[in-house]
Amino acid sequence: MILHVDMDAFYASVEVRDRPELAAKPVIVGGRPGSRGVVAAANYVARRFGVHSAMPSATALKLCPEAVILPVRMAYYAEVSRAIRAIFRTFTPVVEPLSLDEAFLDCSASECLFGSSADIGRRIKRTIRDELDLVASVGVAPNKFLAKLASDLDKPDGFVVVQPEGVRAFLDPLPVERLWGVGRVASTRLARLGIRTVGQLRDASSDVLEALFGRAGSHLRELSRGIDHRAVVPDHLAKSISHETTFATDIADREILRARLLELTEQVARRLRRLGLEARTVQVKLRRSDFQTITRAHTLSSPTDMTQEIWQIADQLLRTGLVRGPGPLRLIGVGVSGLEEPAPRQQTLFEDESRARGRRLDAAVDDINGRFGKRALRRAAELKH
């Protein structure tokens, strides 16, 4: 069985934990409204007013004028996140973090030590509450897809177990929008066919789905049957590392796209270095307003873990990708694959000065951001909004 552990309103909960007097008030963590800031997280009191993350802070304040706005303390959340992962690892080494506040765990091999996966899920939830004074929602299910659905179902403070024999009963009544990959556009198309629940989708003919969604159609059918074969991959065994971001509003300005892509590239490169790996292939993913997705990849002659070198390729791929699909984008992402342990490195007599400087820069940035949070020191080009 797979566990999906998702912290409830993570950044906001951490802030409220440290200032209990805020507990009953709407709390928003994010940028100031004057500086075009957006909501990074909102506690459940604020959410009742319609506030949600990625919303401009100014809009949030209009919905909820008495909200307390707090600055984002990323380094601190990262520290708390490390403490949470440490709790996970007391139960299983197979932990795949998705972000600071959620992770998949495969506890199959730990059941003989700690009891059933459901028991482990309960103990993790309790330990996080006792030791860190934070609330997690936990889903326990036969695979990642179902576990993630389960953790979300009864949020906040949820705990949902889906047994293999209960998959159908669990899935069938859910609206189709709960499936990965079904957004506004897809759900409208399905609704026209009278398909509103996962159960109805499961009964739909494969031809119809194929005609409507192409290859994604068969994937949808699998999901509607609760099938998902992806394994939980701990970070250090990853075959690829990628980061992507969906914009609050679609972006067409190339310089802003470059700034966001550079930020993601820096994150990918830093993870690569932290894992002590080098990558051979760089891939850029663009999704246009009409959901058309474009990916472009390039393979290097020798693997690298340098931000500068990965960025050079990513920037180039963005350019060629935009030629193919100009116009505003709703999502941008960058990933690296072909990961390998760094080869024995032959030292050189005549150091390539720009490379050497790039390496020193990466080391300094990693060091500073490791101590003060991942956005403490950034490349100026990332600041374009």
């Binding site: 024995p344 030292q347 007599l349």
Partner: protein, 369 residues
Amino acid sequence: MKFVIEKEALLVPLQFVNGAVERRQTLPILSNILMRISAEELTLSATDMEVEMVAKLALAGGEAGDVTVPARKITDICRALPNGAEIAVAVKDGRLSLRSGRSRFNLSILPAEDFPNLEGLVEARDFTIRREQLKRLLERTQFAMAQQDVRYYLNGLLLERTGRRLRAVATDGHRLALCETELDGQGGADFEGVIVPRKGVLELSRLLAEGKDDVRVAIGGQAIRVSGDGVQLTSKLIDGKFPDYTRVVPGPEQCTRRLSTDRELLRQSLSRAAILSNEKYRAVRLCLEGGILRILAHNPEQEEAEEEVEISYEGDTLEVGFNVAYLIDALGAIPSETVRMDLMDGSSSCLIRSADDDGCQYVVMPMRL
């Protein structure tokens, strides 16, 4: 034009000048050899516009004329004729006819006046050097030249002269070979580093391999010419700036760890350990401690090699990784019985010399394992 010659007399110079001919050519005439005949001399030349090779041989009673013929074909024919065969060569009806015994060949020709040459690139200033000396400079450094490196100025050999000292330097950026020699004569002038391209160096080694006379070396702004014993090689120079190699040759006083040992034993141990090193990276680990050098190698199949060599050693314990091929190359180029290796630490270069400091130094950068 017309001449008669014995097979061996023609084949040797033909094979020599053939070295300049590239398999793939941009100009058809560059796959030809130029033959210039006077009453008592035959001159053969070939070029790829970078390197030009010329050989002269004596003739008895030739009929003057110039022509170019396909280099490989005439060489192959000449080689395949029986030993001692007499060959009659003549131009007839716009073709070159070759007759020997009962064999007849007619080869296509191209006009001699279209044949390019590197004349005019070389200045008159030249100096004489003993063939053995120049040969030694090349032999002991050329293996360290880069091959098809984007840093094009490394794909060659640096030559420079200060007073009577002539120095050759080659490096591929990972290791470096430096060798110098004292000129006997006074001719010629100092010159700053010129870079002879890889092909020119390899062909020059062939030129120096045979014969015993001194050779003349002329160096101009764009080319170098070496001549002697009826053969001559002209090579364009690489127009680029060689890196400041003096900065990367460590002074012996910088090296706090010094070892000396039997060169051949060390070379053999390294060659054996190399068998089980990673085929791609060729990494070996050297562990220096007391009077023992341990050489460790392993490969992705988890096979392992360990060698021990007795050394005389001053300095603290040290572990350092190297590309074993670089060490073997350097040890192979040193003729002496005892070799010295001077090291600083695990991330600095290693200086390798023969025990009787003979003017040759090898610098090898370590590998981070």
